[in-house]
């Protein structure tokens, strides 16, 4: 099977859907780049800040790959309104940290249209944004804010942890009739993996069990799923058998797969890169405590960032992020 990067997988998914459905448009700052400039380098100068939408303007033109001024509220308002008219916008917001500027359009408008118009309105909108630390990008460009979107009814929230999932989940996101927040980890764009050339979907609300185990269940999101897998490799050599679950979407959440796994292992560690309060780690710990308490052999552990902004100092940022070592320590703690 062909090997592609996370970046290429997302690009290919958008490309497939733009070819398949002329209502799919891409909108955002520098999604092609060079609009309004002249010369041979003007067209497709950027393809998004990290090159994810590179090449699309050449195939689909500036009517469907729309560069905007630097104004998140205009991008999001345009995209949400366009979705209501039947277009399927893929809005690139660069860093998830910037969504505060246009949060009203997301949580109070797009998320509510279908509900408030009695089910007659559809909002087929994809909001792409980068999450995650480890990029030395400081406190305003390094956050992992999926819990803020997950708690809003009416939004679907997707966080792929590998190239294969990124493509299938993006195609599903574009075909979905509800607003989808699609969160790409910026440190994973160059990660490669096997990705089929054909279009395919991965349904929302279906966790991937990426490793089977008997002793401990680890639930981990986005880049943390990769770190959990590494921790599981190390622990396997020490005789601790770890099951790793990557929920892939936080809303809808595949609670059944998590509960079934905990029923088998009796132990749970949740790993997430966002701060600990009101987080997915807290949410999943609560769900398991509520629905699988009698299966648990001991207390649940969580491995998260601390309740602080992301530090700019590289050495502090490394300490801030959940690491393989911290995951191993947590697993050993719940094994006692």
């Amino acid at each position: 099977m062909p090997t592609k990067s996370y970046r290429e997988a997302i690009n290919e998914a958008i490309d497939h859907e733009m070819a398949r459905d002329e209502n799919v448009i891409v909108i955002g700052e520098d999604v092609s780049g060079g609009a309004g400039c002249e010369g041979p380098d003007a067209e497709d100068a950027y393809g998004g800040v990290l090159g994810v939408t590179k090449g699309l303007v050449g195939k689909y033109g500036r009517r469907r790959v729309i560069d905007t001024p630097i104004t998140e509220s205009a991008i999001m308002g345009t995209a949400a309104g366009a979705a209501l008219t039947g277009l399927r916008p893929v809005a690139e917001m660069m860093f998830v940290d910037f969504l505060g500027v246009c949060f009203d359009m997301i949580y109070n408008q797009a998320a509510k249209f279908r509900y408030m118009f009695g089910g007659t309105a559809r909002t087929p909108l994809v909001v792409r944004a980068m999450i995650g630390g480890g990029f030395r990008a400081a406190a305003q460009h390094s956050q992992t804010l999926h819990p803020m979107f997950t708690m809003v009814p009416g939004l679907k929230v997707v966080m792929p942890s590998n190239p294969y999932d990124a493509k299938g989940l993006m195609i599903q996101a574009i075909r979905d009739d509800d607003p989808v927040i699609f969160l790409e980890h910026k440190a994973m764009y160059d990660m490669t993996g096997e990705v089929p050339d054909e279009p395919y979907i991965i349904p929302f609300g279906e966790a991937a069990v990426t490793r089977d185990g008997d002793d401990v269940t680890i639930v981990a999101f986005s880049m943390m799923a990769k770190r959990a897998a590494k921790a599981a490799d190390v622990l396997a050599k020490e005789g601790i058998s770890v099951e790793v679950i990557d929920p892939r979407t936080t809303s809808p959440l595949d609670v059944d797969t998590i509960l079934e796994s905990v029923e088998k292992t009796g132990r749970l560690v949740v790993v997430d890169e966002s701060p600990p309060r009101c987080s997915m780690a807290a949410d999943i710990a609560a769900l398991v405590a509520e629905h699988a308490f009698h299966d648990l052999k001991g207390p649940i552990a969580t491995v998260t960032a601390p309740h602080t902004p992301v530090p700019f100092s590289p050495s502090l940022e490394d300490i801030y992020m959940p690491s393989v070592d911290k995951i191993i320590t947590a697993v050993k703690k719940v094994m006692k």
């Binding site: 089929p196 050339d197 395919y200 069990v209 396997a236």
Partner: protein, 370 residues
């Protein structure tokens, strides 16, 4: 005793290199054949290498964490009193050969794609290393499968002939446009593909629906088809388990497909999560499930299979039929006009080429050798 090399093994067709994860034994240790000596990881699988000889582990030539190519030397076994210089010379000789090989690396085979009869067809070719290779073998998988179903057979059967495992229309990496979804259409595409890759004559090994396609190819092109090896042929069973077909097509999730996939094997423990994930992923490719439904309705209807059975005596090429004693998909026998040899494997269900790979490889190799 002489010097024995311990090499990085090849686990599966795609393995090119492995990481030495952990040595279970130290230099100087006495090892016995069958003892676990080193953990090796690949991108697909982690496994333990067992010693195949007994003796003293005189040298470890790979550190933990080191990535080594398949066939690279990782340890030397000999007597405790073997001369150090002889061991060093032995290692030096290997290193020289490995350096030479590294300069001429042959990558693991990758499937190829070609246009045939207006359709995209993907296939895996494993070429024979023999100087005078015999007539090539085409391998056709069953309903819902792909060329990788032959992963335990293809390399083995490629010793004396080129082998081509082809993805049938609607399956694997081949086009999802299956036309009317009949055996005729599937067979026409195989013939067009054989023309496109330049195969004038060939043997065919087919599994389940692939064996039905093979029969139709033989009826259409008797001059091209030298023999037919049919595994679990539905045309010669008493009944085809339609509950299985319907369940396989309608299942959308891993847990839903599991009971049906388990029906394929005599030992359902062979069904892994990865196998189910791969099957569901293949069904989620655009157009894949509609293609399967169309094929199920047209190629695998009782009428289509009865028609094929009635024409069985029209196949002139030598034929072999292999059944699994515990097959739950093609049950009973209705051999009709089949004039070939019939074999039954006692410990197999519907997937003898996976469940009893060595036995199937031997049966097919003997049959092809005449």
């Amino acid at each position: 005793m002489s010097l024995h090399a311990i090499l990085v093994p090849k686990w599966g067709l795609a393995m090119e290199e492995g990481t030495i994860a952990k040595w279970q034994v130290e230099q100087g240790a006495e090892i016995k054949s069958g003892m676990e000596i080193v953990d090796i990881e690949t991108s697909k699988i982690a496994n333990v290498l067992e010693a195949t000889v007994s003796g003293t582990l005189r040298a470890l030539t790979a550190d933990e964490g080191e990535v080594k190519r398949v066939g690279n030397l990782i340890a030397v076994v000999s007597d405790a009193d073997e001369d150090d210089a002889a061991i060093e010379a032995f290692i030096a000789e290997y290193k020289e050969r490995e350096a030479l090989e590294a300069a001429n690396i042959v990558a693991a085979p990758e499937p190829e794609t070609i246009e045939a009869g207006g359709k995209r067809v993907r296939f895996m070719k494993v070429a024979s290393a023999a100087e005078d290779a015999e007539t090539p073998l085409i391998m056709l998988h069953g309903f819902g499968g792909d060329h990788a179903n032959w992963m335990f057979n293809q390399a083995d059967l490629a010793q004396v002939r080129d082998t081509y495992a082809v993805d049938l229309l609607g399956h694997g990496g081949s086009s999802k446009d299956v036309g009317d979804g009949t055996l005729d259409t599937l067979a026409d595409t195989i013939l067009a593909w054989a023309d496109a890759v330049g195969l004038d004559t060939f043997h065919i090994a087919g599994h389940s629906m692939g064996s039905a396609v093979a029969q139709v190819v033989a009826l259409k092109a008797p001059d091209k088809v030298k023999s037919l090896a049919l595994l679990c042929p539905p045309a010669f069973g008493e009944a085809l388990n339609h509950e299985y077909i319907e369940g396989f097509v309608s299942a959308q999730r891993r847990k839903a497909i599991q009971p049906f996939v388990e029906m394929l094997f005599a030992d359902s423990a062979l069904v892994t999560r990865e196998m189910l994930d791969d099957l569901i992923a293949a069904k989620r490719v655009d157009g894949a499930n509609d293609a399967l439904q169309k094929i199920a309705d047209n190629a695998l209807s009782d009428a289509a299979l009865a028609d094929l059975r009635s024409k069985a005596s029209g196949v002139t090429a030598p034929a072999l039929a292999v059944f699994g004693e515990k097959d739950q998909i093609v049950t009973g026998r209705n051999i009709g006009g089949f004039g070939g040899k019939v074999e039954t494997l006692p410990n197999s269900g519907h997937m003898p080429h996976l469940e009893s790979a060595a036995a199937v490889n031997a049966l097919v190799a003997d049959f092809l050798a005449g």
